[in-house]
């Protein structure tokens, strides 16, 4: 077994389905604005399933970022779930052969090495239709979501350090495909 990872920040969702991809988009924005500290892995998990198992198994703690449907709540509303409230929220994340992220957590447990601490932060989506890009309400809430990830990581003992402005600009021009393709703006700080 390789050395365990301190914290896995896992963005989830389909970037072709509007706000469904907000979790995946958020981790790209995070990586643009911040240097990832030692002991942390930031991954755009998209709608992948078993491919994520090695990372989930290796991680002591997992912070998932996802769109969360909450009846009655305004689009863009922040949501936070912890511990055993997390699996039901990601149960709808079906992936290889309907092995969803919740099933992966179970499989990791069956193998005796699931993450000890689970958190989920996210936003209430507005539009999950076939579309690339976020709805205005969700896009407005994205910078705050990125800051929430940073704050949650800090509470767990991991400090994301802001990139200098020229470095952020370079990354925007670089190969970080998803963000530029999706036409997302970097979070203002």
């Amino acid at each position: 077994m390789t050395e365990r990872l301190g914290l896995l920040v896992l963005g989830l969702g389909n970037v072709l389905c509007g706000d469904d991809g907000l979790g995946a988009a958020a981790v790209h924005l995070l990586q643009q604005a911040y240097r990832v500290p030692e002991g942390v892995l930031v991954i755009d998990g998209g709608t992948l399933g078993l491919a994520l198992l090695p990372m989930l198994q290796d991680a002591e703690q997992v912070l998932m970022v996802d769109a969360v449907r909450a009846p009655g709540a305004e689009p863009g509303t922040a949501v936070r779930l912890a511990g055993m409230d997390v699996p039901p929220a990601v149960r709808e994340r079906l992936s290889p052969h309907q092995i969803g992220v919740a099933d992966l957590l179970d499989a990791a447990q069956l193998m005796g090495c699931g993450p000890g601490n689970m958190l989920l932060v996210g936003l209430v989506p507005h539009d999950l239709g076939l579309r690339v890009g976020l709805s205005p309400a969700v896009e407005r809430a994205m910078p705050a979501l990125v800051e929430t990830i940073v704050a949650e990581a800090r509470a767990l003992g991991f400090e994301f350090v802001p990139r200098p402005h020229d470095e952020q600009a370079r990354r925007l021009d670089g190969a970080d495909g998803v963000v530029s393709l999706l036409g997302l703006r970097r979070p203002g700080r």
Partner: protein, 569 residues
């Protein structure tokens, strides 16, 4: 007559719905429907063709690499880019790794649960399980202590009430035939398959970067630098690592997967006579062995009609067209005539019942999947089609050897291949053939390095000013679950039209304008059903095709999506 509906078919990406008429314990008729809309084509209009793969790889979490490869092939075909040999080798390795990995996942994590009763495993004797495992293979992780531990872990897990991946199944169903020890062995191998997958996935990191979505594709070749002496490139060290991973895949497939399939199949030989389906097979061919415009393929392309292995013909893509007579789309020229993919239209028009509903309008339109046909024939695609085409051509000889060995081990003739069991066996055979072949591609890559041939991409056509004002391209690929084609029409550097005909569209499509059933529908007719309220047998046959509806159709149907109750902060 009972009307049995399975919706959604469990453990499948996307929403697949099967309706059947059951009479006298047998399926008399069947309808296959997808209740999700398809339409990635719409998203791609107006975009840069060089970026299309980034979008198509996000269609589905199971099929990321396959849509990327096919998109790149289609665009390269349109603009006339010629990837160099190293790019071909790297792509073959990526395709091969995806194939082996996907087949192992399909068998252990989807399909085995249709044959293996997890709950029965709890009553198995670990010592007898060890003897069984050791009698079918020399795989070392097979001792009594190991199976005692597996049983204890399973017991804890079930006692915790979190069945997780084992939920929603028909445990204790009379159609399960394995003794408890075989069931426990399978549970052990389910866990080992997870372990294997965890190791083997490092292939992706080496070939495609740290992100689980591969980042190394490029129209014209690959973005992975190759340099024997560089730390930041594929070098002699990574070649050694690739070689080790490929050897471990061959080991797992040969000593665990294949023996398990044979051992389980021996208890279910009646399924060699069930689930044949349309009897027409299509494979585009895969794993190019040279860099010509029409390369020789390690697994040859071809078509077989009416189960006639004596007549295999080359594929002519112009013979492919799609009907929407029973699909929720409109064609401008009317729904009775099919359209070829280059002229394909994606105009959704839902005319089905308003959810929630009991039954679809089976005599009218009933699916979001179109009905592809080859010269008006419904065709089955997938590992069975590929193995049959290779078997019929007699090349590669390894396919013929392994198919004949499998038939001999089970004491059945070639007709047994046309069945649910045939599909499952073909997937294991293909895994072994490809796991063995991958070592040749690693060796060829090492030879390139030794020659200091580091070419990885044809950049001559990357600039859109080098393209014709208007061009068309088609890309073909044999994905793990079958034949995948992308068709692209480019004008002034932008995508005008994009059409995907995906494996699950071929297999899961509804009837055509002539009323001919699609492959799932035909395969289900005649299936025995022991308990209509627990149609395990329907799942066996549908799962044997390895369905993936997320590709065949696309958007999540929010109306039907489970709403999660959460507290808002």
């Amino acid at each position: 007559m009972a009307h049995v509906v399975v919706d959604p078919i469990t453990r499948i990406e996307g929403h697949l719905r099967i309706e059947t008429e059951v009479e006298g314990g047998t399926v008399r008729d069947a309808w296959s429907s997808s209740t999700m809309f398809r339409g990635v084509e719409i998203i791609l209009k107006g975009r840069d063709p060089r970026d299309a793969w980034v979008f198509t790889q996000r269609i589905c979490g199971v099929c990321t690499t396959v849509h990327a490869i096919t998109s790149i092939r289609a665009v390269e075909h349109a603009i006339g880019a010629n990837p160099p040999p190293n790019a071909r080798l790297l792509r073959n390795l990526i395709i091969g790794a995806q194939c082996v990995q996907d087949h192992v996942i399909h068998f252990y994590h989807l399909h085995a649960l249709d044959w293996v009763d997890i709950v029965s495993a709890l009553s198995a004797d670990p010592a007898k399980t060890a003897s069984l495992a050791q009698s079918i293979s020399d795989w070392p992780i097979s001792g009594r202590a190991y199976f005692t531990d597996v049983r204890a872990r399973l017991k804890d897990f079930v006692a915790g009430g979190r069945l997780g991946p084992f939920a929603n199944a028909y445990w204790g169903h009379p159609a399960y035939k394995l003794p408890p020890e075989a069931n426990l062995m399978a549970v052990g191998h389910y866990l080992q398959a997870l372990d294997f997958q965890r190791q083997f996935i490092r292939m992706h990191a080496i070939l495609g970067g740290k992100n689980p979505h591969l980042q190394s594709f490029l129209v014209g070749g690959m973005a992975t630098p190759v340099d024997a002496d560089s730390q930041n490139a594929l070098n002699m060290g990574t070649i050694a690592e690739l070689s080790k991973l490929v050897a471990s895949a061959r080991d797992f497939v040969t000593r665990v997967y294949m023996p398990d399939v044979l051992a389980i199949a021996a208890f279910y030989k009646d399924w060699a006579g069930i689930g044949a389906g349309v009897g027409n097979y299509l494979s585009y061919g895969e794993y190019p062995e040279d860099d010509n415009p029409n390369p020789n393929m390690y697994l040859p392309g071809g078509t077989i009609l009416n189960r006639d292995l004596g007549k295999v013909a080359p594929v002519e893509p112009d013979k492919i067209s799609e009907y929407v007579k029973h699909s929720w789309y409109d064609y401008k020229g009317g729904d009775d005539k099919p359209l070829p993919p280059f002229k394909g239209e994606t105009s959704p028009n839902y005319t089905g019942p308003k959810p929630p509903y009991e039954r679809l309008h089976l005599d009218r339109k009933y699916s979001w999947v179109k009905s592809p046909r080859y010269e008006d024939h419904p065709m089955e695609v997938g590992p069975l089609a590929r193995m049959l085409v290779a078997y019929a051509y007699g090349r590669p000889s390894r396919v013929k050897e392994l198919v004949d060995n499998t038939l001999k081990a089970l004491g059945v003739g070639p007709q047994a291949l046309f069945s649910t069991l045939g599909r499952t066996a073909a997937r294991a055979i293909e895994s072994q053939v490809i796991a063995e072949k991958m070592q040749d591609w690693v060796a060829a890559l090492a030879e390139s390095m030794a020659r200091r041939d580091y070419r990885i991409c044809d950049n001559s056509k990357f600039d859109p000013s080098t393209w014709p004002e208007e061009c068309w391209g088609s890309g073909f690929h044999e994905a793990p679950r079958g034949s995948l084609g992308h068709w692209v029409h480019i004008r002034n550097g932008e995508i005008v039209n994009y059409q995907c005909v995906v494996p699950t569209t071929w297999n899961a499509g509804p009837r055509d304008a002539h009323g001919k059933r699609g492959p799932y529908e035909e395969a289900l007719v005649g299936t025995p059903i022991a308990k209509p309220d627990q149609p395990l047998e329907i799942l066996r046959t549908v799962h044997s095709f390895d369905p993936c509806l997320a590709c065949a159709v696309h958007v999540l149907d929010t109306e039907r999506r489970e709403i999660v109750k959460v507290s808002v902060v």
